[in-house]
Symmetry: C2
Subunit: 724 residues, 2 copies
């Protein structure tokens, strides 16, 4: 019975057999399947494994080998032995009755040796397989993302090269094929140096089958098909290891809310009619004082109600002694009180009908008070309050002039929403934003993320007309699968930049299988964030630069990039940067080369970079850039400026801004970035260019290209690149 | 005759045989060796190859196979066929007379098919080898570095993974072993998952033999031993390809000068008694005017003699009509005249006894005027003038207040010498330096490097007491081998930072069009620069940051790094950055953990990072950092600062500067770097810290760690790390 596919889902799968096998394993109290059991499971899901049988004596082995055909392989079968080769439980290339007969006993003896009480089920007799390319297909139950499927290079290099890729299970046929083509060594699978390629479709098919298996049976926490022999025609899993965990509770994922519910909550939080500041203070240095100042002096447009039993007026606002005394219509309560009072107060807040809270206080899970945090979550849910935090600096939303935070106020309105899990990173965001005049729509502290998290923010910013790029600093995800779902949707409309901290591998803990060992890597996050359409930043500064530049860069419509430079030296470095970031330098056709050469001195270099040479007047920059914007075979420009007396920095900046604006007026918008090499005036010129829609940077040839590459990564993932 | 080694050089090598083989190849007018010839060469150099023989008929093949022993391999031998497998000229695993006999004819037919006139020498009969790990050993004649030896992973993955490493030939036994251990997949050679390791010594030995071969016979321009089968005991080169080029002229390397000669020249250039400005002008905007202003207003301490036939006084200096009229004692002539006058004038300059020249004019090789440049080189050499350039901005040497350049003057004296091949990059260096108050000893434009190059600069800065770090931007090297020699010596005393542009295919292309630079595989540069002890920067900004920070960072004495942070979020990102840059986070012992915990709140995190938690007063930062400096098991500190009211940025900066200074007074100097997360005041605080010996950066967790890692890379290469 050969399973077939209907609408991407594999049909004709025999899940009854798998249930039967798993039930037996559960009854035995085992945590892994024997080889014959694994074979039954594979057979049931159409995963091809070698012909084989179980022998419990040398004679049986000889008889089985006769049926299967020589040469054969003998492998020990024991629930106590996971690594058969290490246990000397494998003999290969046996090509006669004699060889099989005399091989049986030593294998059993070797296998028993290291663990005296190893129970030996028997010896598996398997047809020896023809040569093939060794790959690995597997799956794990990831703590963040749930069932995740793996594909990679197999054999002895697997652990050293770690050339593997991951996706959420179940995968679509397209995703499975993208995995096959997505490893670094994928070229080998296509065939190199006259060798034929392997059957990539068979591999993609096997990946999909494994992904269906772990989706259907979440108690299978590890599948390790290694090696899978990929042949010119077909693929076969030589060894299959399956690990199960029946004890694993159906994990308590946080509750999921519908999109409308989330929007209702988030609109109240970000655009409140009135805010109550619980623990408001008139004493300098107190958090409750800073929050009041930031709200009042920041010009918050709604009502502000301080709550404090011991004061009557703070910053000209009437003080309420108790939450119960507050007027109606309050949408947000900002907590500026010690942790120990938070739980009781949030109940009151809920009872008062205040739907959301910003919980600044620390002293919860982050200081070991896990139980207090759990009480908080339960109480808030019972009393109908959704909250941000605890352990945060606060929430800014500039369109409403709301600085509901104890940190410094911020008021430069713009298109970027930023969020950070850490307060320190939040302060870095504020400082960077102020220093670079970064226009933001929101800055949100997420802290312990006991309730509102990235999913809620993304859902709000998706529809928020004040936001067109979202940047998130995160250390973990409460529900990775839900995040991917939301991010996949939102990232098609607006770029999402993620700085995922904690990329350091968690050490070399002894993992049972290759797949599990590989999954300890940051690579799981990396691949799955890409699957979600997210642009990942490699560090804090990169996240901030991406956040600053992605919104102002037009979306490119194709891959052809042209570098126009006044400094040949910058041109070389800009080319390097393009190569390093996977950008494609256009191979300039003759007619276009000639067109460029008309504007530049005869010793200027044709080709790409277009080297206009140093000492040229502003017109030369202008003419070549205009040509780059005009010609519709060119999709993006990278400019290299060299400070000279003939074209001073600010003159360059103004001319470039003008020409870009001129073409924008005519409906031609292409991403343009610039690297400025020169004396300190290039700093002012760079800021000028940025404010006119051209991300520009002094003293670096890397950063401008990196931000352009980030825009390209997003555009490719969102399917926009050739969509025009 | 088994070759043995004496003092690192392999002895008992039979170079007479190799000469004989090569003579025959030359006589035939061939450019590669036949398999039997390659075997003779390998035998002569003690490179193990399989037993084999040449058959010219099926019967001869059978008879040879009988001698060698079954199973055997048959391989076509033809001077016209390089890739035997592609030509279907290989049959493996023939285990009987019959198989050999019937295999012979088809191989010959297949091989003849694609190239009708392929001359078939015969068929090689080779013993089929046992399994082994496939590696590659080879050598190439690199245009920049001369004979270079290669080691890497072999088999079908070699071209996809490109996991290879390079060294100058000949290699020492230590270098050869470092190559074996230096590939990414080296772990596999040591044995993984119960598999035995391979005979690494045999591989190192073979590398060394190949390196001796290409050193002794430079006409061998390519050696390709691929695959080499590395076994548990021994290694054998299964296939050997050798390519020769007898036509290649003995390359005209530039002349090499002795160290004393170089110092004599460079001292005149950098510390001249008097400077003549040829083409000095009093017209604003002229290069000859800018140079005069920069020298005069920059406060140059020696004499300044303008030369111009049409003026009498410029900036208060007496003008000379002709070079011949100049007073004696001039050490440098700065050329500010058009290219076409340069050759004649440099002759006059030499005749006047002026030993060095700074050639600002462009219009030489970079604009295609290769012949003019060659005339310049010849004339200068004939008249005893050594020069920098042409096509440069000039030369700065701040200790003598010399700004012999047409760009803006620079006077912030400090320990870094910088040089750039490109003028644009030079302007970037100036701007960055001014903006960050980077103290420099020298800034040198190298331009076309027709004479004075990096080797001369390194030799000067090596002894220059005003310089303790050298940063070089380069697009090519005139004589890579000489550079390595000098850099190896200098880098043991002072860090050398190199930004090598044109590192990529597209970058190389731009380099070719810009400076007629020869493109090379970047990995060759990368490995050989490392062999030279150079710290390579990945981009312009990184080079500038390294140049700024390496000189002020003390040299670490061990690998133990501790992160001390007020922001947990920064701590995670700083850990990531340490991991990414190969820095080792100390595993903090219990007693030290306890000592740290005394200073921080109970919910602060023990371990590494030491999380002192937010909201702590300056004393907590002070106490923990003091402990980090005090405890001699800790070798370097990475600080993460979080902006709070309790410890504002400048307070943090001052307290940190004090404690570091206090320990410095007591003779304890450790590298300390800092990442500052906060509002804009952290910028001023970062600059304050930098000026007090602590490289500190706002809004980034990556840069401080990267500069520390650069210092570590240098210290490791210079052998200083555990030398105290």
């Amino acid at each position: 019975m050969q399973p077939t596919m209907t609408e991407g889902r594999l049909s004709a799968i025999d899940d009854g057999t798998v249930r039967e096998v798993l039930d037996a394993v559960r009854t035995d109290g085992r945590s892994s399947l024997s080889a014959p059991e694994a074979k039954r499971v594979c057979d049931a899901y159409g995963i091809e494994v070698p012909q084989e049988g179980l022998a419990t004596s040398a004679d049986e082995a000889v008889s089985l080998a006769g049926e299967i055909g020589y040469p054969v392989v003998l492998k020990i079968v024991s629930p106590d032995i996971l690594h058969k080769t290490e246990a000397k439980g494998v003999l290969v290339g046996l090509d006669s009755e004699e060889a099989v007969s005399s091989g049986y006993d030593p294998i059993v003896e070797n296998a028993a040796a290291p663990t005296a009480d190893a129970s030996i089920t028997g010896v598996q007799v398997q047809r020896m397989l023809p040569e093939g390319m060794e790959v690995l297909i597997g799956a794990i139950a990831d703590p963040t993302f749930g069932p995740v499927v793996t594909f990679g290079l197999g054999g002895i290099l697997v652990e050293v090269l770690r050339d593997v890729t991951f996706r959420l299970a179940p995968t679509s046929p397209e995703d499975a094929m993208a995995m096959v083509d997505g490893i670094r060594t994928a070229e080998v699978l296509h065939g190199v140096r006259g060798r034929p390629g392997v059957d990539r479709q068979a591999l993609a098919d096997m990946i999909q089958r494994v992904s269906e298996l772990v989706t259907d049976f979440p108690e299978i926490t590890e599948v390790d098909l290694n090696p899978v022999l990929a042949q010119e025609d077909g693929a076969i899993a030589v060894d299959a290891r399956l690990v199960v965990d029946f004890e694993a509770e159906a994990e308590t994922r946080p509750p999921r809310y519908g999109k409308d519910e989330i929007l209702e909550t988030m609109n109240r939080l970000m655009r409140p009619r009135a805010i109550a500041v619980i623990g408001a203070s008139d004493q300098d240095g107190k958090i409750g004082n800073s929050v009041m100042k930031n709200l009042v002096n920041g010009g918050f447009e709604g009502e502000i109600y301080p709550v404090n039993p011991k004061a009557s007026e703070i910053l000209g606002k009437k003080v309420y002694a108790d939450v119960a005394d507050l007027p109606d219509g309050v949408d947000v309560a900002v907590f500026c009180i010690p942790a120990k009072f938070v739980v009781d107060t949030i109940a009151k807040v809920g009872d008062k009908g205040i739907a959301t809270a910003i919980l600044i206080p620390s002293g919860f899970a982050e200081t070991g008070e896990v139980e207090l945090q759990q009480q908080l979550v339960t109480t808030a849910r019972e009393h109908g309050v959704r909250f941000v935090g605890p352990n945060i600096y606060g929430v800014y939303y500039t369109p409403g002039k709301m600085s509901a935070a104890f940190t410094t106020p911020y008021d430069v309105q713009g298109p970027v929403a930023l969020a950070s899990q850490s307060g320190g990173i939040g302060m870095g965001i504020l400082g960077f934003s102020r220093s670079t005049k970064l226009g933001v729509s929101a800055i949100v502290g997420l802290g312990n993320k006991a309730d509102i998290d990235e999913d809620d923010l993304l859902t709000f910013f998706e529809d928020d007309e004040n936001t067109n790029c979202i940047a998130l600093h995160m250390e973990d995800l409460k529900d990775g699968r839900s995040f991917v779902e939301v991010a996949q949707r939102v990232s098609r409309k607006k770029p999402i930049v993620v700085l995922k901290a904690g990329a350091t591998p968690s050490g070399s803990k002894a993992a049972a299988s290759h797949t599990a060992a590989l999954a300890g890597d940051d690579k799981v996050y990396d691949d799955i964030l890409r699957q979600a359409g997210v642009v990942r930043a490699s560090g804090l500064n990169e996240m901030l630069q991406f956040a600053r530049c992605l919104p102002i860069l037009p979306t490119p419509t194709g891959e052809n990039i042209v570098i126009i430079t006044g400094a040949g030296g910058s041109g070389v470095l800009l080319s390097d940067a393009c190569y390093n970031t996977g950008l494609h330098l256009m191979d300039i056709p003759d007619d276009l080369n000639e067109a460029f050469m008309k504007f530049i001195p005869p010793f200027g270099a044709a080709g790409n970079p277009v080297d206009i040479t140093g000492g040229e007047p502003p017109e030369t920059y202008r003419n070549t850039v205009a040509l780059g914007l005009e010609d519709d075979r060119i999709h993006a420009l990278v400019l290299g400026y060299w400070h000279t007396i003939v074209t001073p920095p600010l003159v360059f900046a103004k001319v470039m801004s003008e020409v870009v604006e001129e073409y924008r007026q005519r409906g031609i918008e292409k991403p343009v970035v610039a690297s400025l090499a020169g004396d300190v005036e290039v700093e002012e010129a760079s800021q000028y260019l940025f404010e006119h829609g051209i991300p520009a940077f002094p003293y670096t040839t890397e950063t401008p290209v990196e931000v352009l590459a980030a825009k390209y990564r997003w555009a490719r993932m969102a399917g926009l690149l050739n969509g025009k």
